[in-house]
Amino acid sequence: MTLDFVSNVDYIWALLPEIVLSVWAMVVLLAGVRRPDDPPANTAALGWLALVGILVAAVANGWLYGVTSTADAAMITVDPFRLFANWVFLLGAGLTVLVAGPYVTRQRLQAGEFYTLILLATVGMMFMGGTRNLILLFLALETMSIAAYVLTAYNRRDRKSAEAGLKYFILGSFSSGFLLYGIALVWGATGSVHLTEIAAVVEAGAGFTGLLLAGMALLGIGFAFKVGAVPFHMWAPDAYEGAPSPSTAFMAAAVKAASFVAFLRVFLEAFPTLYESWYPVVWWLAVLTMVVANLIALTQANVKRMLAYSSVAHGGYLLVAVAAANEMATAGLLFYLLVYTVMTVGAFAILMIVSGQSEDRLQVEDYAGFGWAQPVLAVVFTIFLLSLAGFPGTGGFMAKIYILQGAVESQLWMLAVILALATVVSYYYYLRVAWYMWMRSAAAGNDHARVWTPLPVWLALILSAGVILYLGVLPSGLLDGAMTSAQGLGVVRDGLLGLRP
């Protein structure tokens, strides 16, 4: 099927996954409605309903592979980059829905709205990955962010959740202001909000250079906030620690992935000719993020906050791929995002299990003795931790290797070395949790015998662990997909090869 966007119906086909998911979100919302005297909604049933919507959207996404788009000027693109990113978002949303059930039940959160917000945030992410129009990008980003603010502040009975929600909201909307101002200035300088048209104007040397550079800088600041790059990361640990754990898993995995996808697309498609101006900034952001986040993570005794800093640190590794800006690095970034989503949601699922589906027992000492009390869960958790640390044999290792390869192809030697060193440092705080789990005996009164892991959680854990081990051994299939998806993005640096020592 070929779409030329002459007829408006073509937009419906091009947006099929998003439309399916939006409609399904409304269905889930309605299904969750209860009158005050009704019995509470069935959380598990609503979860399965939301999951079906995600699966249908995934089918629609797969169907889009058979569709070719001939119009480049449309607001929405049908390129493999978008479709690959959609897989990541749908996977993150699906796993979150699977693991959230017990937590939502035990904390008595309103399930219908919770799953609806996850679905709507996912729709926002899919638009972020699929648009070449800066205004649509802003709307998509806000669709995702506003849903994420609510998800953060979702537990109204919990002080921490409200506090995290407020911090995330203030800094999130603050950064959106920067992003928007950047869009306005870029539009003023080039007369277009379409990425390829901006690139054409910039390449021709037309447009107002001062305004353009200011706009690009503001866009960069906005994205740096959104991806949580040091020094714009201060919202991230607080928001991640205070939010209800399922929301944290979703934000750390999918929201971050969406921000990176949009970051990469905007800078590689709109400003490839200005690469020399923006890459030093991204270089420094990457270095600062990797070093600072890993060092602070070393000092954390709270596992949830440690995972929050680990998420910031992973953002640093991903920024290396943005700085490298070649096809290998872009493919590495996509591969990394997929593996990262799976292992992050998995790790948070175990964290929820250990904490008894609540917000206590999050300290690393609380993991003492978990290994021998719940060997299967502990083995799965160890796999996630090893993959987060980037141990050989896991998907996390291969993902880091591909990003390193991208950095090396662009001759960013320093970044590659720092990435490797930061990874070694990160072993300490990941393995410390594993060490407590297996080598320490449980404190009195802290028995791990009773944990609540219903079927959906097991499903998510087995799927996640399976994906990580599979990609650790046989990564080439997914890498080929990522390479195809990265085509056309990131020819920037290749042209410079050989020009620099």
Binding site: I135, F138, L139, E142, I146, Y149, V150, A153, R156, R159, K160, A162, E163, A164, G165, L166, K167, F169, I170, S173, F174, S176, G177, F178, L180, Y181, A184, L185, W187, G188, G191, V193, P237, D238, E241, G242, I296, T299, Q300, R305
Partner: protein, 97 residues
């Protein structure tokens, strides 16, 4: 006229940014964020004189987003006020490293 409008919009944006950074009352911080967004709106309207009418369309989108953000933001502020009986962000210190 364009230069003046852009400078005014930049000044408003800086006032908004400074406000978020130095004020400690959550509602004032939120108002400063709104000031940022409206500074951008001014840029869009001013630039649309020279580039095209779509700038004024963007302003409507931004106003819609700002309204949605206001709804969620005020709800969050109310929810935290119920816990702390204050909206001064210096009092919110459960989360720190």
């Amino acid at each position: 006229m364009l230069a003046e409008a852009l400078v005014l919009s930049a000044i408003l944006f800086v006032i908004g940014t400074t406000g978020v950074l130095i004020r400690r009352n959550a509602i004032i911080m939120f108002l400063c964020v709104e000031l940022q967004l409206n500074a951008v709106n001014l840029s869009f309207v001013a630039l649309s004189q020279y580039i095209g009418i779509e700038g004024q369309v963007f302003v409507f989108f931004i106003m819609t987003v700002a309204a949605a953000e206001a709804a969620v933001g005020l709800a969050i502020i109310i929810s935290i006020f119920r816990h702390y009986e204050t909206v001064n962000v210096d009092n919110f210190n459960l989360l720190k490293w």
